[in-house]
């Protein structure tokens, strides 16, 4: 039970905090959110750079990269070794998911938006909130150091399936793994780092839920909350239920690796050439169950907040009331609920009982339903709108377009017989980048462009923002769309060099094309980086509500002071009163007094 001091007593008389308390060990949710934002973006660069290395290898399997050998002794001279390749795509995915998307969506936007959008002064437990950020630091440090430990960082994919990840020598023979050089200390670092990420997220989610349940401003009923808050709420619920399971799985694997427990090692142990593990007794498949029990809900953790944010952004710039507010909320709840019973779709070919496969398939395909409801409601919101093409809006629209592609490819894999062919091919890689990169990341970009003025009091440069958007949209499609095609041709994923295979001869040209697009995509991000930093100091200053938006955060000054609101806002209506014909303006903030002649809305 962590604890907070009362803000009600000191709300209007803040003692000036020192630099350290104000910007580093801050308990202010906005500062913590921005801290998450900066760390997430830095890790995005690292993860992205790794992705480019991955692409280089696939596009030019025989090519050489001069600096690799100098930095990382494990590689083969000027070329990447296959082990090294395994390491970089594993770390690419790990960093992108656990150190970029989740911290950005829930950490940065969750922290920044929740209290502001429900009209609270801060999170329920500011100290806990601070701790949730600082518990990320051991994870940051460990995951970065793990590149340089003996054997290199983890290299068993972001899924870290045993036994490749977990095989160890018998007690007393050190932490080497007979399975792969990366499964020794590097894997241990991976596990420990993720445990820290998990603890951090768990603290965050308890805090978010409590805040949303108990600290809403007067008048802010549940069904007056903006979808961003709803999505954060549902995400927090997902996290609090799913994360502990991952934590257990991580700890069990950690025990397997360090003290020779046998949770994932089958009876009799396994043999690697002339090296052998200790005795066994457990079940290899158990890890996959525990892992996906978390990680499937986790993919919704990585999309729901983006969906919520995008809904708000679309409404703001479409100047239109959200179409079907309650169905949207129910759809999110439905996705979350169903999300818990579909994890087996990652395991159709894993040797899981095929009868379970049928059940998981039915559940999985049904999850397209709430997603359909969301998609059609977005489209209906745009219908008859008055769309302002700001950078934030463009990114949000791209989210909608790309999520449909990513979601529809999910249906192929959900169908068990088709998945027999498609599983672990580039079709999956295409799917996951469409939903993760092209949906979640576009959602994040949209959120950054949208809330930037609230965070820093200045807008980002719109022109460069649009250039960045257009190029990103173009190149990311060029990078990831052809992956569907090579997936259909059977190109397995996680392949260091596919030119060995006769049936893939045709598609190598596409691989080269994708690599070039990916490099251009990487260069494009420099525009974003420069725009972001430049605008911090030189962006146009703006007032409290530059987008003429309705939600509560725009009622606070930009950037909001400690304590957020000059006076506690009173909420009088839902967040989507745009284009109401009964009033003169085309928007009506949640806090504004009821204009005369307008009937009070039902909710």
């Amino acid at each position: 039970m962590s604890v907070s001091h009362s803000h009600s007593t000191e709300a209007h008389a803040h003692p000036e905090l020192g630099f350290l308390r104000k910007y580093i060990f801050s308990e202010d949710h906005k500062v913590i959110g921005i801290q998450f934002l900066f760390s997430g973006l830095i890790f995005f660069l690292i993860g992205g750079t790794l992705a480019l290395l991955v692409r280089l290898q696939i596009g030019f399997p025989q090519g050489s990269i001069p600096f690799i050998g100098r930095w990382f002794p494990l590689s083969w001279g000027d070329r990447m070794s296959p082990d090294f390749y395994a390491m970089i795509f594993s770390m690419h995915a790990t960093i992108m998911i656990f150190f970029v998307i989740i911290p950005l969506l829930t950490g940065a936007f969750g922290n920044f938006c929740i209290p502001l959008m429900i009209g609270a002064r801060d999170m329920a437990f500011p100290k806990l909130n601070m701790m949730s950020y600082w518990f990320m630091w051991p994870a940051f440090a460990i995951i970065l150091c793990s590149f340089f430990v003996d054997g290199g960082a983890a290299g068993s994919g972001w899924t870290s399936y045993p036994l490749l990840a977990s095989a160890t020598m018998p007690a007393g023979q050190g932490f080497h793994s007979p399975a792969s050089p990366h499964s020794g200390l590097g894997q241990i670092c991976w596990l420990v780092a993720l445990v820290f990420v998990g603890i951090s997220s768990m603290m965050g989610s308890v805090n978010y839920m409590t805040t949303i349940i108990n600290l809403r401003a007067p008048g802010m009923t549940l069904f007056r909350m903006p979808l961003t808050v709803w999505s954060m709420f549902i995400t927090a619920i997902l996290q609090s239920m799913a994360l502990p399971v991952l934590t257990v799985a991580l700890i069990l694997q950690l025990l397997d690796k360090t003290i020779n427990t046998t949770f994932f090692l089958p009876p009799g142990g396994m043999s690697f050439g002339n090296q052998h593990t200790g005795p066994g007794g457990g079940q290899t498949l158990l890890w996959q169950h525990l892992f996906w029990f978390y990680s499937h809900p986790a993919v919704y953790i990585m999309i729901l907040p983006a969906m919520g944010m995008v809904s708000d952004i679309i409404c703001t710039f479409a100047r239109k009331h959200l179409f079907g507010y309650k169905p949207m909320v129910l759809a999110m709840a439905g996705i979350a609920g169903l999300g818990f019973i579909v994890w087996g779709h990652h395991m159709f070919q894993s040797g899981m009982d095929p009868r379970l496969g049928t059940g998981f398939m039915l559940a999985t395909i049904m999850i397209a339903l709430p997603s359909a409801v969301k998609t059609f409601n977005w489209l209906a919101t745009l219908w008859g709108a008055n769309i302002q093409y700001t950078t934030a809006m463009l990114n949000a629209l791209a989210f909608v377009a790309m999520f449909v592609i990513g979601g529809l490819s999910g249906i192929f894999m959900a169908a068990t017989p088709v998945d027999v062919f498609i599983h672990d091919t580039y079709f999956i890689v295409a799917h996951l980048h469409y939903v993760l990169f092209m949906s979640s990341v576009f959602g994040i970009f949209a959120g950054i462009y949208y809330w930037y003025p609230k965070m820093f009091g200045r807008t980002m440069n719109e022109t460069w923002g649009k250039v960045h958007f257009a190029l990103t949209f173009l190149f990311s499609n060029c990078t990831f769309y052809p992956m569907h095609i090579i997936g259909v041709a059977g190109h397995p994923r996680r392949y260091y060099d596919s030119t060995l295979y006769h049936f893939l001869d045709n598609v190598q040209s596409l691989n080269v094309f994708m690599t070039i697009s990916a490099l251009l995509l990487g260069v494009t991000q420099i525009i974003f980086l420069l725009n972001f930093v430049w605008s911090l100091f030189r962006g146009t200053k703006v007032g409290a509500n530059p987008w003429h938006s309705n939600t509560l955060e725009w009622a606070a000054p930009s950037p909001p002071p400690h304590g957020n609101f000059l006076e506690t806002p009173i909420v009088r209506r839902g967040p989507y009163e745009y284009g109401n014909p009964a009033i003169e303006d085309d928007y009506l903030p949640q806090t504004s007094p009821q204009p005369s002649g307008v009937p009070v809305a039902a909710h």
Partner: protein, 287 residues
């Protein structure tokens, strides 16, 4: 105008995406040849889903682009004020629901055929494949159907034949493979047979297929069995298994008929016998 430009930009990219899928089959970027009895079913289901998803892709894309074009910003106008529409909500819940249910249900029987142990046909040929870092160790009994195949899969017999990474069978044979692994997870993937199955440490997993086309013939000149150049059917490993994952390659030899297979088997036995002495485990004394 600059406003409407964005809808064209979106439209162009979505159209490009659509066209790439339309063109791909004609330039060889598509499903590999299909030589398995259940393969056509898999492909049919693939096309069914492609049809539905293609339809919804075009539908949503068209609506999005049209709305972006039609409802781009105009000063001094207001958007339509609607909060929702129950009938529409129900419609776009129920229609996809029916389609999705149809998609889901249509999968079940094919899945059943491919994977359920109970519905696997009686094998004409039994073999046991052990995956390991990084090759496939194929074990053949000295006859196509060993007695008590399941037990044979567990306990090697003395006259078994081991071949690294070469899978031999004949056209039309119901082949059953008992799939094992010696170390980590691997996955037996044959694109042309539309077959994929992970090998799970500690378990023995039955897999079956029936090839509908042959690719192997006897070359009297060299005395070897040759694969047709245009029908090289590779086995790939589809589950990350360490550094050599990408080169864990196998080759499928489908003989014309059982006679050919038996002929090949005899040859293989002969070859194995001549290799025998060095291969045996540490000295065995017979008395």
């Amino acid at each position: 105008m600059q406003q409407k430009g964005w809808s064209i930009f979106f439209g162009a990219i979505l159209l490009g995406a659509f066209l790439l899928f339309a063109v791909a089959p004609f330039v060889g970027w598509w499903l590999p040849a299909n030589v398995s009895t259940f393969g056509p079913d898999v492909d049919r289901l693939f096309y069914i889903i492609l049809g539905f998803t293609g339809f919804f892709f075009v539908l949503t894309g068209a609506i999005l682009v049209y709305a972006m074009y039609r409802f781009a910003w105009r000063a001094n106008t207001k958007s339509h004020y609607v909060e929702g529409n129950h009938r529409l909500e129900i419609a776009w819940t129920v229609v996809p629901a029916i389609i999705l249910l149809f998609i889901a249900v249509s999968q079940i029987s094919t899945w059943d055929t491919i994977k359920y142990y109970a519905s696997m046909p009686n094998p004409d040929l039994v073999m046991q494949v052990t995956a390991r870092q990084w090759d496939w160790s194929m074990r053949y009994a000295d006859k196509p159907q060993p007695d008590n195949a399941r037990a044979w899969a567990e306990v090697p017999a003395i006259d078994d034949i081991y071949l690294p990474s070469e899978l031999h069978c004949w056209k039309g044979a119901n082949v059953r493979i008992f799939l094992k692994t010696q170390d980590v997870l691997h996955s037996f993937f044959s694109p042309q047979l539309r077959l994929k199955q992970d090998a799970l440490p500690g378990k023995t997993i039955p897999v079956w297929f029936n090839a509908t086309d042959a690719n192997t013939s006897y070359n009297a000149k060299t005395g070897k069995w040759d694969i047709d150049k245009n029908k090289r059917w590779e086995i790939a490993c589809a589950e990350l298994c360490g550094g050599g994952h990408y080169r864990m390659q196998g080759m499928i030899y489908v003989h014309e008929n059982k006679e050919d297979y038996l002929k090949w088997l005899d040859g293989a036995k002969e070859a194995a016998r001549s290799r025998q002495p060095e291969k045996k485990p540490p000295a065995v004394a017979k008395n």
